[in-house]
Amino acid sequence: MDAIILQVLNGLDKGSAYALIALGLTLIFGTLGVVNFAHGALFMLGAFCAVTMQRILSASYTVIDETKTDFLGNPQKVDVPYVEGWFGPDIGTAIVDWSVPLAILFAIPVMLLIGYIMERGLIKHFYKRPHADQILVTFGLAIVLQELIKYFYGANPIPTPAPEVFRGSFDFGLLLGFAENTIIYPYWRMIYFVFSLVIIGAVFGFLQFTTFGMVVRAGMADRETVGLLGINIDRKFTIMFGIAAAVAGLAGVMYTPINSPNYHMGMDFLVLSFVVVVVGGMGSLPGAVLAGFMLGILEAFASMNWIKDIVPGIDQIIIYLVAILILLTRPRGLMGRKGVMEE
């Protein structure tokens, strides 16, 4: 029982990442009809917003410390972050420590801007092109983006820890009456889960309760009619693309303490998030979220030892296996609409 609760928790948190990426992917697909292979790259760019924030905050000036020597026997150069110089070591360290949460503020405008530029500069010209062309051009863009990141940040993962106070884990087991250490769960992962719920809720609320959202939803259902009503749907869709980019970016920022970001993390998530979107059903936002959490939880279960003992290697294929089973029993995924991307 405790093992099951544990894996549900793990699954929820894996699922949060899948759901957030799939949500953005579906937003872009549903509103613009564009298959965006660069969406994983947006997630990665978000993560590197956190890295950049960390770099900015720890921007340093060099002090030569004559008392020590470096590896070549020269006097040791010591980097002192400006913030430490300005605010003193204690506050300075604290600010650097909080770089990931601070990066959220930084990432929102940056990602909106990147989304805006991408849509206006590139994606816009591909609305009427075949999906194959969209795939090729966005895949090319994804490669370019990740190679640029690699050029400036290297290929190695870059540690971006959570603030000190959020490190460590919480013992759920004690809360539920199990023995100590049976169900432990890191604080940051709980934050990530809550954060993803907030973002998902915000996107749904935005689409449900604002006029803007209403128009976009109508546009998702029937673009031409909405266009005929004299509403400038294109402009709204540009904003939607920015929002989707920001959702992916925020998912990336918050993910950095869970796994150190590297330049190819976007590609790692890309294929899985496509599977998630399709299992959820093309064009369905609730479907994407549901499928994200479902596949996350199933993946966590499949990694349990006794299941792996019965079916060796099941954790390697579970997502794909489930995807196949679902698509064969439900032709359009969990909540897909008819006629969307079936040609």
């Binding site: 544990l6 894996k14 590896f71 540690p159 820890p161 250490n181 049976t182 150190s260 790692d268 030892n305």
Partner: protein, 458 residues
């Protein structure tokens, strides 16, 4: 089929009258030149010799590949008499004098393995077929090393392995034309065993998480054997998919299993992520069975340590070499400082163990050619087999003839609590002497392979 032919390089550089259509059958780009340099693939001309540096330039190990490439360029510079000569001055064999190899200027070509066996072989083939490389070296994973080693064996080219840690490289998949300077999973485990006992006692319960591919398995097998040797109990061994990025679902059950040590048989991105996750779950603050919970990472690398950041603090593991070795452990490791000095002067930071092994391999090859007096792979193999040397930073070392594996001291390190700078991430706990990590050539973990005959190609 006649095998008399002219190598492209020899032909062009020597200025033999060409122009007439001259079609001659060859095997590979076979070669025949001066009497002592005939009958093997890509025999170099009089003026220069080409080495092929095949390292990952894209993909997750690109930074490690970049460091290997730096070391190779440095080695070439030193072989050609440039720079401060690096380890040439400390190397026990004195045949290399800075005039290239056997009087030929050393040139090199580079390629991208992409850390995929296919791409690595394609890249190596282009070096052999197009650029006339006489030796291929490099790589950052065992799959690639085994694949390229196999190719070189077939083509009659020398292969000096870069970073490859799987037992198979000099075990099941060993080849006559291939040599490994880097240590292996068995040696890691053998070196770690006694140190772990000293650190954590002999009454421990270990839980293994293992990357689900060949290297991971050999690492796990070795670690299980040696930890059980010191009295530890193996609670469980769990395989994790190579493609996994989030290890939470594998790590969460660890505490509950009654284990008090977690051994992460992971490398690269897997290792960074699994370690980060394990620390995140607060495993290291827990007390289990009345003991502090501990994590062990058998194979360490500086770059991975940097990726894992502060999570690495206090985590023990093993390395082939460390740049602080000579300073901390004395003159036995002579060469280390000379190498660090010239590398550091040129690039501004200390070299990684991957860089050191690649630099050493290049020198060892050049020296073997010089001692053999020929580039013929069979002559080189003969010169390297059973070769005992010193002064390349690892202390006295033996290239064993039975399996072409180097036997030398293994460095046991631990993540430093208070690093002074970003390169000073680990502290040396102990150096396990080479006799403690030496095994019989027919050890069962290395069984099944066969060196075969050396192949000179054409």
């Amino acid at each position: 089929m006649s095998k008399t032919t002219l190598t492209r390089r020899g032909l062009l550089k020597s200025g033999i009258a060409t122009g007439a259509g001259l079609a001659v059958p060859t095997i590979f780009t076979g070669a025949a030149w001066a009497a002592s340099h005939s009958g093997f693939t890509n025999a170099p001309g009089d003026s220069e010799v080409v080495l092929g540096f095949n390292v990952p330039q894209t993909g997750p190990y690109a930074d490690e590949g970049a460091d290997e490439l730096r070391a190779y360029e440095l080695a070439v510079e030193h072989l050609n008499g440039g720079g401060d000569g690096g380890m040439l001055s400390t190397f026990s064999s004195k045949t290399l004098d800075g005039t290239g190899i056997l009087g030929r200027k050393v040139k090199f070509v580079t390629g991208d393995t992409q850390t995929k066996s296919d791409a690595a072989r394609a890249s190596a083939k282009s070096m052999i077929e197009k650029d006339g490389a006489i030796m291929i070296t490099g790589g950052s994973s065992s799959g690639v090393a085994v694949a390229v080693q196999g190719l070189c064996q077939e083509a009659g080219i020398m292969f000096m392995a870069g970073l490859t840690h799987s037992n198979d490289t000099t075990g099941k998949d060993k080849k006559a034309n291939g040599f490994r300077h880097f240590f292996n999973a068995y040696q890691s485990a053998a070196a770690l065993g006694p140190v772990l006992k000293a650190l954590y006692g002999d009454d421990r319960k270990a839980y293994h998480l293992t990357a689900d591919y060949t290297w991971g398995w050999t690492q796990e097998e070795s670690m299980v054997a040696f930890t059980e040797d010191i009295g530890w109990e193996t609670v469980n061994t769990v395989l994790t998919p190579l493609s996994a990025t989030d290890f939470s679902s594998y790590i969460a059950p660890v505490l509950n299993s009654g284990a008090d040590v977690l051994i992460l048989n992971h490398y690269g991105g897997n290792m960074v992520n699994s370690l980060t996750n394990a620390v995140q779950f607060g495993l290291r603050e827990k007390m289990v069975n009345g003991k502090q919970f501990e994590i062990v990472v058998p194979l360490y690398s500086e770059l991975m340590a940097r990726g894992a950041g502060q999570n690495i603090k206090g985590i023990p593991g093993s390395q082939n070499w460390d740049w602080k070795l000579e300073n901390e452990k004395g003159a036995r490791y002579v060469g280390t400082n000379a190498f660090v000095q010239s590398f550091g002067e040129k690039y501004g930071f200390p070299p990684s163990q991957a860089a050191q092994t690649c630099y050493a391999q290049t020198l060892l090859y050049a020296d073997a050619v010089a001692r053999a007096g020929s580039f013929n792979p069979c002559a080189v193999v003969e010169a390297l087999e059973g070769f005992e040397f010193d002064g390349l930073g690892n202390g006295p070392t033996l290239y064993r003839a039975d399996d072409h594996q180097c036997f030398k001291d293994v460095v046991v390190v631990r993540g430093k609590e208070n690093p002074e700078n970003e390169f000073d991430l680990v502290e040396i706990v102990e150096v396990t002497p080479s006799e403690k990590v030496t095994y019989a050539p027919d050890n069962e973990m290395f069984a099944g392979g066969n060196l075969g005959e050396c192949n000179p190609g054409a």
